[in-house]
Symmetry: C2
Subunit: 132 residues, 2 copies
Amino acid sequence: MTNEQTRLSKENCLKRIAAVRDALYAVSGKWKLPIVVALSEGPLRFKELQRALEDVTPRVLSKELKELELNGFIERREYDTSPATVTYALTPYSDTLKQVTKSLGDWGLQHREYLMEKSRELSPAQSDSLHP
Amino acid sequence: MTNEQTRLSKENCLKRIAAVRDALYAVSGKWKLPIVVALSEGPLRFKELQRALEDVTPRVLSKELKELELNGFIERREYDTSPATVTYALTPYSDTLKQVTKSLGDWGLQHREYLMEKSRELSPAQSDSLHP
DNA sequence: CACCCTGCTATCCTGCAGGATACCGGTATC
DNA sequence: GATACCGGTATCCTGCAGGATAGCAGGGTG
């Protein structure tokens, strides 16, 4: 490999690092991506979302929803039925995240398998690498 | 859609949410994935990594490297040259992360474009959605 | 021997993500 | 008129991820 090529691949690598950092920054947090996944089958109401995410408190859910809306990933819809109904739905832009959530989801599944396998090997001592 | 189908797709969705949460938990943090990307072109030494990641402090870098090693993503190699050299290299298992880093990187790039476009529209007011 | 590089560790500090708990105004169900 | 569901807010609290700064042992370089 020539020096020129090395330089180019290094620069490329730096760019990719920056891109990953940008992405992590934009979708940082424990709940943003899970919310996007939860909404991927269709709009949900506040409480429905809360139930889907199991242990998120309303305060946190509300905050995350606001941020997601501000960043153009979801849309809040109010219907003046009685009593008023509110739903949250993905925007078209959130589709760009599809590949991210898919690969993360796939990886999460296979990683869980991997950890199970590993803990079976070293059992009975339990691994602590699976989140609580 | 039958109720049965609804139930199945709901269950599937819950599984995917859990999988994404697992993944986020495992690769959480500001530096783990960037480190993996940095090492993707070949092993690097401690200081080289530090430079590639620009503003990570040695304390934090050291901590992240230890965690990555503990979780089987990287390998620390010590050579008894004089003075001793240390490199960090990806393990085969870290290959499973390739798709994740790729889609995150791609998305980060396109998201940056998107934000630029958006801020050009509403300029001169600057957007604060790009990280500092 | 003065000074730089590497590969860290030690100490100390701080913000804020995320949580716990409680509550509110409105509706409708019994 | 009590109780329950919805869509949140208001307050208060806490840990810990991540950073700032300093330093050290071991060697290399002039």
